[in-house]
């Protein structure tokens, strides 16, 4: 609907749309990208965290290390953003490696 309104605003304005407020809101909430956030933990070794990022996300070592350093210095890092199902799967894998990870809505 967003796309149609952007391209053809005059058409959508002319058409009477049914009141689907709540339903639309729910769908938009589902479509919002979700963040996979990893939080700092003083126990997990830096080299271990880097290895986990490489394994779970397939990141090259340099990128994995950048995220590891961000977690260490800033307390957290967003490792990935996207659809909820995939984000949940990543968080599940990260917990399997005992990292402190959460899924968070963007915005």
């Amino acid at each position: 609907m967003f796309f149609v309104m952007q391209v053809f605003p005059e058409i959508t304005n002319a058409v009477e749309t049914p009141d689907v407020g709540e339903e639309t809101k729910t769908k938009e909430a589902l479509d919002l990208p979700w963040n996979v956030v990893v939080h700092n933990d003083p126990v997990n070794l830096m080299s271990y965290v880097t290895m986990v990022f490489q394994k779970v996300f397939g990141y090259p070592k340099e990128k994995a290390e950048r995220h590891m350093v961000e977690v260490h210095r800033k307390g957290q890092s967003i490792l990935w953003s996207g659809v909820r199902e995939r984000a949940e799967l990543f968080v599940q894998q990260l917990h399997g490696y005992l990292l402190l990870a959460t899924i968070e809505r963007t915005g």
Binding site: P42, S47, E88, H95, Y97, L100, T102, I103
Partner: protein, 171 residues
């Protein structure tokens, strides 16, 4: 104690009785032993408190899987540690071989143990980073040493895994 790799097997040799005992304690140390802080750390929530539905589903579907995964890793380590029991002389140094395919299980069990111990004793970041700490004088000091010793083993296993990955294709 010496750590090296021989024919695709990680070998820890010249393990003195004290370190052998710490190694034997890995499986027991992974158990949160009804210490809420340790249990919470090993099974931390996957989302903030507002995501009630997500957290509830996680408890039902994901947490049992995580428990199974962690138990399997601990059992693998436990079976490897039986080598230490085979040493008939009580005060002699021992050796331990870790097959390459058990590396991930060792990393996982060592991590469980380190996190559970650190949560039980509520070690601060400063304590965990203090490598010039005075000699062991209390149960707390011993547990901190245990966390660092397990960390050293993790570092070694990780280094070996990295060596394998960098030499694996077209070797």
């Amino acid at each position: 104690m010496e750590v090296f790799r021989k024919n695709g097997v990680l070998e820890i040799s010249e393990i003195d009785p004290f370190l052998a005992e710490l190694l034997r304690q890995i499986p027991a140390s992974t158990n949160p032993e009804s210490v809420p802080a340790a249990e919470e750390r090993l099974y931390s929530p996957p989302a903030g408190p507002n995501e009630k539905e997500l957290r509830a589903e996680w408890k039902i579907y994901v947490e049992p899987e995580l428990r199974r995964l962690f138990r399997t890793a601990t059992e693998t380590v436990e079976s490897d540690l039986r080598q230490l029991a085979e040493n008939e002389k009580p005060f002699a140094n021992s050796a331990l071989q870790i097959p390459h395919e058990h590396s991930e299980a060792w990393l996982n069990a060592l991590n469980q143990a380190r996190l559970a111990i650190a949560a039980k004793y509520d070690f601060t970041e400063a304590e965990l980073c203090d490598h010039y700490r005075s000699p062991i004088g209390s149960r707390r000091d011993l547990s901190l040493f245990q966390v660092n010793f397990y960390g050293f083993l993790q570092e070694f296993i990780l280094r070996e895994m990295e060596c394998d990955n960098s030499t694996a294709p077209g070797e």
